[in-house]
C-alpha cells in the first residue's frame, strides 16, 4: 500500500539517523541503497523495506512488531544481517593486523585497509578480501533444533562464540557461528550470496521459523542489554565508560598494545568517569536523549536507547550517569515530554539470556 510505505520510509529515515555500521552509511546518495542478496526474498514475504545505514532492509514483515519479538523468544526468528559485510584476512601477519585494530568490533572496512597498507609498507604479509556472502541470523530457543535437521555436525558440540564450516540444508561452504544479537541461543550463518535465498527458504520451511526485521531486532537487543553503535557507544565512549571492560583481554591490558590504551587502561582502576547503566521505569516509555536526573532534580546524564519491553511490560532503557549513581537499585528520575518520572538503575540484561554455554 503506497501510503503505508511512505510512513514506513519515514520510520526508516529515523533509523538511518542511528547507524550501527558507522563507516559505510550516509556517504552514499540517499536514493542509492545497497541491497542484500535477500532483497527480492524480503519483498516476496511482505517485508516493509526501509533505509538503514545505506542499506535497504526490512523493518518488519506481516506480523506486528510485538508478535515478531515474542516469537523470537518463544520459537525462533530468521534475520537478514548481510549488511554486516564479511572480510577474509590473509597472510601470516593477519593476527598482527587484527590485534592492531580496536578491541571488540572490527566491522569497519576503511580503517582496515589503511592499517593493511601500513603494515604492508612495513613488510608485513597481510591482505583483505570482502566476501560475497550473505549473513543470516537464526535466533531463539528452537533455533538449534531447526538447524540440526539440516546439518550433519552435532550442534551440541558448538557452544556460544564458536564456529565451524559445514553444509547447511544442502548448501556447502557455510560457516555457522553460535552467536547473535538477541540474547537468545542461536547462530549466524555465513552463506555464499548465490545460495542465500535457497538457504533462507529451507529454514523458513520449518513452522518454528518466522522472518523478523529491524524493529524486532532492536527491541530484542535492548532487552538483552546489548549496545547499538551510534546510540549507546560511539567514538566518544571508552569500553570502560560503556561497561564493556570485559572485552579487553588480560594480556592486551598488560601490554597496552591497542588504540587508546593509554586512556583506557588507567580508567580501569579509576571511578572518575561516567558509566553506561540499565534503567527500568513505569509510565511513559523512555527514549534516546531523555534527560536523566538525580533524585534532587539535577540533570546528571541522558538516555541513549529505550523502549517498552514486550517481554517485561515495563520500560527499559540504557543511558550514561556518573559513576556514583551507577549502582543497581539507585533511584533516579527521567524526563519525558517535560514531566519527570521515577526510574531505577537496573542490571542488564533486563531479560535473562540463553546463550548455549557448556559447563
Amino acid at each position: 500500500m503506497q501510503r503505508a510505505g511512505s510512513v514506513v520510509s519515514r520510520l526508516g529515515s529515523r533509523l538511518q539517523a542511528l547507524p550501527s555500521a558507522p563507516c559505510r552509511s550516509l556517504s552514499c546518495a540517499q536514493d542509492v541503497l545497497h541491497r542484500t542478496p535477500l532483497y527480492d526474498f524480503h519483498l516476496a514475504h511482505g517485508g516493509k523495506m526501509v533505509a538503514f545505514a545505506g542499506w535497504s532492509l526490512p523493518v518488519q514483515y506481516r506480523d506486528t512488531h510485538v508478535n515478531s519479538h515474542l516469537h523470537t523468544r518463544q520459537h525462533c526468528s530468521l534475520f537478514d544481517v548481510s549488511h554486516m559485510l564479511q572480510t577474509k584476512i590473509f597472510g601470516c601477519d593477519r593476527v598482527k593486523l587484527m590485534e592492531s585494530l580496536v578491541v571488540g568490533d572490527i566491522a569497519e572496512l576503511k580503517p582496515n585497509q589503511d592499517k593493511v597498507r601500513e603494515l604492508q609498507n612495513k613488510g608485513s604479509d597481510v591482505a583483505l578480501e570482502v566476501m560475497d556472502n550473505a549473513l543470516l541470523a537464526l535466533q531463539g530457543p528452537t533455533a538449534a533444533q531447526v538447524l540440526q535437521a539440516g546439518v550433519a555436525d552435532d550442534l551440541r558440540k558448538l557452544p556460544f562464540m564458536t564456529s565451524a564450516v559445514m553444509e547447511v540444508f544442502g548448501v556447502s561452504g557455510c560457516r555457522v557461528t553460535r552467536c547473535g544479537y538477541t540474547g537468545e541461543d542461536g547462530v549466524e550463518i555465513s552463506v555464499p550470496a548465490a545460495e542465500a535465498i535457497r538457504l533462507a527458504a529451507a529454514l523458513l520451511k520449518n513452522p518454528e521459523v518466522k522472518l523478523a526485521g529491524l524493529a524486532a531486532r532492536d527491541s530484542l537487543r535492548l532487552e538483552a542489554g546489548l549496545c547499538l553503535y551510534g546510540n549507546d557507544i560511539d567514538e566518544h565512549t571508552t569500553p570502560v565508560e560503556g561497561s564493556l571492560s570485559w572485552t579487553l583481554g588480560k594480556r592486551r591490558r598488560a601490554a597496552m598494545d591497542f588504540p587508546g590504551a593509554s586512556v583506557i587502561v588507567p580508567q580501569l582502576k579509576s571511578k572518575a568517569q561516567r558509566r553506561r547503566v540499565g534503567l527500568t521505569c513505569d509510565g511513559a516509555p523512555v527514549r534516546a536523549q531523555s534527560p536523566i536526573l538525580s533524585p534532587e532534580g539535577t540533570v546528571i546524564g541522558a538516555v541513549t536507547s529505550g523502549c517498552p519491553s514486550p517481554c517485561l511490560k515495563k520500560n527499559v532503557a540504557m543511558g550514561y550517569v556518573p559513576y556514583e549513581y551507577s549502582r543497581p537499585g539507585t533511584p533516579l528520575l527521567v524526563e519525558v515530554r517535560r514531566k519527570q518520572q521515577p526510574a531505577v538503575v537496573s542490571k542488564m540484561p533486563f531479560v535473562p539470556t540463553n546463550y548455549y554455554i557448556l559447563k
Binding site: R3, R10, L11, R14, V66, P285, A288, C307, R337
Partner: protein, 142 residues
C-alpha cells in the same frame, strides 16, 4: 473564527506525528481535510454528529458542544501496536493544535495535537489498562 467552537473536548486519543528522533518531522498527509474543515464546525442541536478529520489523522466528532477525539484507521495501522497512551488530566484547557499527549508503540512515540480548543471533560480510562483498543477500535472504544 469558530465562534463558540466546541466548549469541551473529550479526549479519547489523537494524532500521528513521529517525534522520537531528530530527523523526524510532520509532513502533510495526502488525504484528510484541511484545518479549515474543522473550523467550519458549529455547535447546535440541528447539527448531525459528523466525524471530521485533520491533517494529522485525528478525527473529531461533536455533539452538544462536547467533542470526541480519536485517530484514524490509517494512523493506527501505521503506528503499530499501541503500548502506552499519555493523556491529559481532566480539566486541562487546550488550544487548537496544542500538543496534549502521545501514543507510544514499541518503536516510536507519536504526539497528539488537539484539533479543537476547549477543556478536557473526560479521558478514555480504558486505555490505561488496554492501550491496544486504539488499534482494535479506533473509532469507538479506542
Amino acid at each position: 473564527m469558530a465562534l463558540r467552537a466546541v466548549r469541551s473536548v473529550r479526549a479519547a486519543v489523537g494524532s500521528l506525528c513521529a517525534i522520537s528522533a531528530p530527523s523526524a518531522g510532520c509532513s502533510p498527509r495526502p488525504w484528510g481535510l484541511r484545518a479549515g474543515a474543522v473550523r467550519a464546525l458549529r455547535t447546535g442541536p440541528a447539527l448531525l454528529s459528523v466525524r471530521k478529520f485533520t491533517e494529522k489523522h485525528e478525527w473529531v466528532k461533536t455533539e452538544n458542544s462536547v467533542g470526541t477525539v480519536g485517530i484514524s484507521n490509517f494512523a493506527q495501522e501505521a503506528l503499530g501496536d499501541v503500548v502506552y497512551c499519555s493523556l491529559p488530566e481532566v480539566g486541562t484547557k487546550l488550544n487548537k493544535q496544542e500538543e496534549f499527549g502521545a501514543l507510544e508503540s514499541v518503536k516510536a512515540a507519536s504526539e497528539l495535537y488537539s484539533p479543537l480548543s476547549g477543556k478536557v471533560t473526560e479521558i478514555n480510562k480504558a486505555l490505561a489498562e488496554n492501550p491496544g483498543l486504539v488499534n482494535k477500535s479506533c473509532y469507538e472504544d479506542g
